[in-house]
Symmetry: C2
Subunit: 561 residues, 2 copies
């Protein structure tokens, strides 16, 4: 046991620092630090992405800003990945160059990550080490044991962290499923034994803390989907999250039980099943039929397993709904089953997809009317169970918006956990020795992948784009002589603004306003480029505000010839 081998020295501290995942569900990035304040060694767990909402147009993905740990790179011992969901591994390929540390993961997670690293051309750069399920790892003062849990992806691991100053249970994402259909059940024995050792802190998933009861078992989904598909005639398409391998297996077996061949549709379906077969999963399901070959099967003998459950415009199901898919056509009397939940924010595109399918006479079945989905995160009764196994002194809720973190802390309090600590990204807390306490507030934030450039959230470009989306954009070009006399009519580019005056284009409206303003300037002022630009800008902006009741950004370019 490391703990006895390496006694803590008097100045040592164990700290926890979330850089992502507190304040949002997604973009997980957690740091543990050990040592005296002046020379801590760091351990990172997970490095995920999140997705933009409508207020972030033109952003592809969002990830944590690693600037703090970049500065501590030489003390970063490694990055441990708990499981292969995008919000836990999705930023590795984008940010590894800034960290350059070894990466540790169990086989399926490693296979999924290798796919991403290969696409980014980083496969030979990143030192990626596979850890077996239930494996053990020593990284400096951190003694790590991977503990098998259940979730909605293969190989979800909690990390049991032992340090000379105490133990921490870092749960990652989990639920309790006694029949997960793929992989082992929750390793209650190891969890309980770790609890028996004494656990200083649990850092725990908060996603479903607002939901009472339990999340339910994949076994029930398997039973229900098999029965439901048995009642259907014609073609059946089922959509779900590709990474939910147990669900894919459920659907393939439900198809088989009903005399249907499964067809995988969508790039992620192929990626995930290929990583799965590479690591020994999916051995007991029949080989899928190709999209081309499926065209020769009678409708009653086919089941399409599709990406696109969130209404993503370019995913397979959306193309099928538009009847623009290369190989697959559904028609009146066929059925689409959404074996998935609606991620908040995706309601409108998903309902829109339902509408497009309905309009073509295709039946749409969802978890609202049939029990064809279970969540991968612990509801309240499961959280209570985990606290009974671990019995921590301190609860640190993560993986949640503020309302989830606060409700989780309240639950921990009800469960008699002596201390609770609700953090936000960037707050560094000492968790041992002594009572938990925030001791620093380090730079944290979000990076936006904007085109192929990483831009810090809050910087000008996105703000400007948002402003233009409301009010358009005007640029006026003035060519003047030394005295500020216009040498030509002002040229104007307006984008995103309707015509505002009868018989006049909006460009003409702006041109007249600029021309007037500049022509009326006193000669002394007109000798100053900035004054000329400002006079024209104010005139154009004022005119647009009067006619349109909006104030678009107006830029004036002055060229003096």
């Amino acid at each position: 046991m490391t703990r006895s081998e390496r006694p803590a020295s008097i100045n040592d501290e164990l700290v926890f620092l979330p850089l992502g995942g507190t304040g949002e569900i997604g973009m997980n990035f957690n740091l543990y630090g050990y040592g005296p304040a002046t020379k801590r060694k760091w351990l990172a767990i997970d490095l995920g992405i999140t997705f933009p909402d409508a207020s972030e147009p033109g952003i592809d993905v969002i990830m944590p800003d690693p600037i703090f740990i970049e500065g501590e790179r030489e003390n970063l011992l490694g990055l441990v990945l708990t499981h292969a969901h995008e919000d836990h591994i999705g930023a590795v390929a984008h940010l590894w160059e800034r960290l350059r540390c070894p990466v540790y993961a169990t086989p399926f997670t490693a296979a999924m990550l290798r796919g991403k690293l290969a696409e980014a051309g980083l496969l030979n750069d990143v030192p990626l080490h596979e850890v077996p399920l239930g494996g053990h790892l020593q990284l400096g003062p951190f003694d790590l044991t991977f503990v098998t849990l259940t979730h909605s992806i293969p190989e979800p691991n909690a990390i049991a962290i032992r340090t000379p100053l105490g133990n921490v249970m870092h749960t990652g994402d989990w639920k309790i499923d006694d029949a997960p259909q793929i992989g082992d059940v929750t390793d209650i024995k190891t969890l309980t034994a770790f609890g028996d050792e004494g656990v200083r802190a649990i850092v725990c998933d908060s996603t479903n803390v607002l939901s009472p009861g339990r999340s339910g078992s994949e076994a029930d989904v398997r039973k229900n989907l098999t029965a439901l598909i048995g009642t259907l005639k014609g073609r059946v398409a089922v959509t779900t999250f590709a990474s939910n391998l147990a669900r894919l297996s459920t659907i393939m077996k439900a198809a088989e039980a009903n005399g249907r061949h499964t067809v995988l549709v969508g790039r992620s379906m192929h990626k995930v099943t290929s990583a799965a077969r590479e690591t020994g999963y999916l051995k007991d399901v029949p080989t899928p039929v190709s999209e081309e070959d499926a065209g020769f099967l009678p409708p009653d003998n086919v089941l399409y397993l599709c990406t696109g459950s969130q209404g993503e415009a370019r995913a397979a199901l959306s193309r099928i709904a538009d009847d623009s898919h290369r190989h697959i056509a559904l028609s009146k009397g066929d059925t689409v089953i959404f074996s998935s939940k609606i991620i908040p924010g995706n309601e409108l595109p998903i309902f829109e997809l339902h509408n497009r399918l309905s309009e073509r006479g295709i039946d749409v079945l969802t978890e609202k009317d049939h029990d064809v989905h279970v969540s991968g995160h612990p509801c309240r009764d499961e959280l209570i169970q985990m606290y009974q196994w671990i019995r921590p002194e301190l609860s640190i809720p993560v993986h949640g918006e503020p309302r989830h973190l606060l409700a989780h802390a309240e639950l921990a309090n009800e469960l008699q956990v002596p201390e609770q600590l609700v953090l936000r990204n960037g707050l560094m807390a000492r968790i041992a020795p002594g009572p938990a306490q925030v001791i620093d507030d380090v730079p944290a934030g979000r990076l936006h992948l904007d085109g192929r450039v990483l831009v810090r959230a809050g910087e000008a470009p996105l703000r400007e784009r948002r402003q233009m989306s409301f009010a358009g954009h005007v640029v006026v070009s003035l060519v003047v002589d030394d005295d500020g006399k216009l040498l030509a009519d002002p040229e104007v580019a307006c984008e995103g603004i309707p015509d505002l005056e009868e018989g006049l284009s909006v460009e003409d409206t702006c041109r007249e306003a600029a021309d007037d303003a500049v022509s009326r300037m006193r000669k002394s002022a007109a000798r100053d480029d900035a004054a000329v630009a400002e006079a024209a800008r104010r005139a154009v902006r004022g005119r647009l505000r009067f006619l349109w009741d909006k104030k678009p950004p107006v830029r004036v370019l002055v060229t003096r010839v």
Copy 2:
């Protein structure tokens, strides 16, 4: 009875034409036509707005394009309003000038509309006629009876339409509530008697057709809210839709029963309650306390009744959550009850509001955890009841997205209604004589209120704004002589684009690209403005695409001096 007085002539037809409300929930605008095809008389029912989603930035409200009926203005007999919700009356003030017809409404609806017309300066222009509840109206060939229903606003009316060619039941929005708390219960006697006469068609609300069972009664909400508020200490705020007067009354009485004074917070709360008192409602509730005076009350004796249940940024509750409200401050231990549903698309702003309240220690209670809301639209069992009362030959589902309309038609089919007709806005259907049939497809669409200008949906400005929100905007100004020689460095305005090259602003990147391209042009080509602009545009766009992987709109302004 009109029917016997005015026999149908041989060429007469009865037609129905939805110009809003089929394909969306909101923006209702229905037309009925009667007469020979060449000279139909028209009746309009409702003229509402809907609200933009995230793909429509800078648009305030959306309304039906009335262009078809504008052209038939001299044959438009009147506009009848069923009830005062925004999606039924919200466009009247915007579009009445284009229709210039008399408007008919029951007293509360008329009072609400007068408020809007006054704000638009139209109060003295619009001929607004009040019809009593259960009243009767003859408009040319249309004999109209207002039938009292129940809904989530006072005075919801169905319109029983009698014509020489048959009867139509136009339901408007409704539910069946045996104890609506304000107003009468559903006038089953009149509905049944109308059904006994024989009804050719029902044009009916589809909003909740996907929900089984019944919508529930306001009486239950009253009981539950009263009990719930009785358990709370500290300040209580309740938010709901201001137009739901029964709910306001429920909340005020629940406050009173628990020794709390109600404080109205938010402009719409005052508007609605003032229209209500003006028309004889709210006589039995205690007078609210002003925001200022409430500051002197102990926390346990106050209840704030607030706007902002949908997370609207400028509404009362959002300002309270930010602690930026002028008179009202909530703090740790206080409670906010959302006595409302989440309108699809509003999930993220509402959860964000929950987060802001939670972070300040304020408890958030919603319909998810307590039974504090019921819908105002009929679920399946209520629809079945209505079909039993009316027994129509033809079902025309309206007030729904395609998936709702189609499910409603399927339900009608199951109920043995002989004909069902699913329309979209702009499809004109003959509903008598003979089997229902689509006979025309007239111009229909949406108008966007963009600033203070009405713009047809699909036109360039919004598309351009959306494009700029993804990729920014570049304008390059070139000043050249007759031979196309640059007389000054190109001037560049970039908006919404990050810097892409080390040590170079994005403007400089564009400037260099434009300069290069123009300098390399052959003299003959450089004499043509369009050729110069295109060369610069392509160079800038190509450079940005290479560096950024996006293609922003690029405009080049050429001035020849």
